[in-house]
């Protein structure tokens, strides 16, 4: 479904991705793990078109998407929950969801999905008319996820969805991911610091280190890998 090969991305002179190649197959949950500054966020940004790779090729369902503007990529069915949530601060919760459904034109469908989002995160319903910017960190995270689901994406890019969420919600989030994947067949590329849980729900995983893929394989295998356990899972 998604295929990156030899992608190089830069921030000014900082060479953030040094030839990343990875594949995400239809219906999979793929975890991308790695330490701080490894380039996980950059990878997702490159895929969704927030950043342009300097070299390398990138295809989604066979069509090349490298260098295409973000709004076109999104219209192909890729949704991105960005790092830092990036809620529209001066819009209410409902308006945020509405904008999330910009490419959907059917009012009834939009309303349906909003209700669905409220179902996932009841707190959002309570705060339907609160400004996004005044929501607490965790509440914003919920909103960001619900917003990305408004278009019923075929590929969902999640950048640390559990960040800032309370333990109860961390579990809920992972449940939702699994549910989406199982019931709707949504493909997920998941970046997580909470690698333990990520590897539990993922089918496959990649380990990124200073801009390069260091390891890839079955999630279960990766979870057992000695170096991974030491470096990312906090095992002594």
């Amino acid at each position: 479904m998604l295929e990156l090969s030899d992608i190089h991305t830069y921030y000014d002179h900082i060479h953030a991705l040094k030839g990343v190649s990875l594949t995400v197959n239809e219906g999979e949950i793929v975890a991308l793990i790695g330490g701080n500054g490894a380039g996980k966020t950059t990878t997702l940004r490159t895929i969704s078109g927030m950043m342009k790779p300097r070299t390398g090729s990138m295809t989604f369902e066979g069509q090349t998407i490298a260098g295409i503007p973000a709004h076109h990529i999104m219209q192909k069915g890729i949704s991105h929950v960005p790092e830092g949530r990036r809620i529209f601060k001066d819009m209410t919760v409902r308006e945020n969801l509405d904008v999330g459904a910009y490419t959907v034109t059917d009012r009834a469908l939009i309303e349906n999905r909003i209700q669905e989002g409220f179902g996932f995160f009841p707190r959002l319903k309570e705060r339907e008319h609160q400004l996004g910017g005044t929501m607490s960190g965790g509440e914003q995270q919920m909103l960001a996820i619900a917003r990305a689901l408004m278009v019923a994406p075929r590929l969902l890019l999640l950048d640390e969805p559990s960040m800032g969420l309370s333990p109860l919600f961390v579990e809920a989030i992972f449940d939702i991911i699994v549910k989406l994947n199982k019931e709707r067949g949504t493909t997920v590329l998941l970046v997580e610091q909470n690698a333990n849980m990520a590897l539990q729900i993922a089918h496959r995983a990649y380990v990124l280190q200073t801009g390069e893929i260091k390891l890839s394989g079955n999630a279960a295998d990766i979870a057992q890998d000695e170096s991974v356990r030491k470096a990312y899972l906090g095992d002594e």
Partner: protein, 337 residues
Amino acid sequence: MELSTLLPFLANVIVGGLVLGFVYAIIALGYTMVYGVLQLINFAHSEVFITGAVVGFEVFRVLAPVNMNGYLKLLIALLAAMIISGLLNVVIERLAYRPLRNAPKLVPLITAIGVSLILQDVLRVIEGFQGRFDLTYTLPAGFAAKFCAVGSSCESLGNFLRQIGVDVQLKDVILVVVALVSLGVLNYLVNRTRLGKAIRAVAQDRVTAGLMGIDANRMISATFLIGGALGGISGVLFGMKFGTVNAYSGFDPGIIAFTAAVLGGIGSIPGAVLGGLTLGVIQNLIGVMNVFGGALGIANLEAIDASYQRIGAFIVLVLILIFKPTGLLGKSNVEKV
């Protein structure tokens, strides 16, 4: 002085201020739209709007000998001005602001000033080739007449106005109507349509808007188109109301209109309108302070004459902003830390 003369006087001053306020309001909307999406004080808007005035002038001039309904002429003038000012604004954005999207905020401010200077001379040269500097509108017959004059079909309304001492011309009424209609349309566009929502999303976070499938550049162009079209309308209204414009006459009303936008809460559409009306009325009231000073026998008030009109408005602005730091209708934009 008696109340019976002072009251109609006051009514006139306020009505005059309101009409003026509507002109400011529509100019202010052009600033506010652009500010809302790029946080840029579009200094070139004063020339975009004067371009509208020039277009209006040309339309009326060319159509003057044509025997045609005056309202139709006005409509043509408005449409032409909207199109030309709108497109001009889009082109300005494309050439002078878009390449600087990622530069510090003040950089496009300077190019805006540059564009403003360029346009001033360009307009002057264009009209100069025809030997014109001050452009005086030739309005359709009757526009300058009293509204609902004695003998007209709406005489009774006119009588009522005359009774309370309010003295308006047909063109003032037209102006207010056109302004209100434009406001209504704009409000619908921004608050009720997908386009409006997308523009607001782009205004807050271009990148994330892109992730939502919104083409930020198109939305920004659309905003400039709308803002420019409003500028075109305001230009024609301005020319129609005051009769004469030249290439340089956008600066002053531009500054005041931007002030109005700020007073109302910059970025807010109802705010711009409220700000425009407030400034219009306050300006006029300050302009007649000396009359009240005379009537009440307060010497210090008497010294405040029309030369204080403009700074009076600024002082009111200062006072209002001290108590409402984000303007009359500005969101209090509480930042969550």
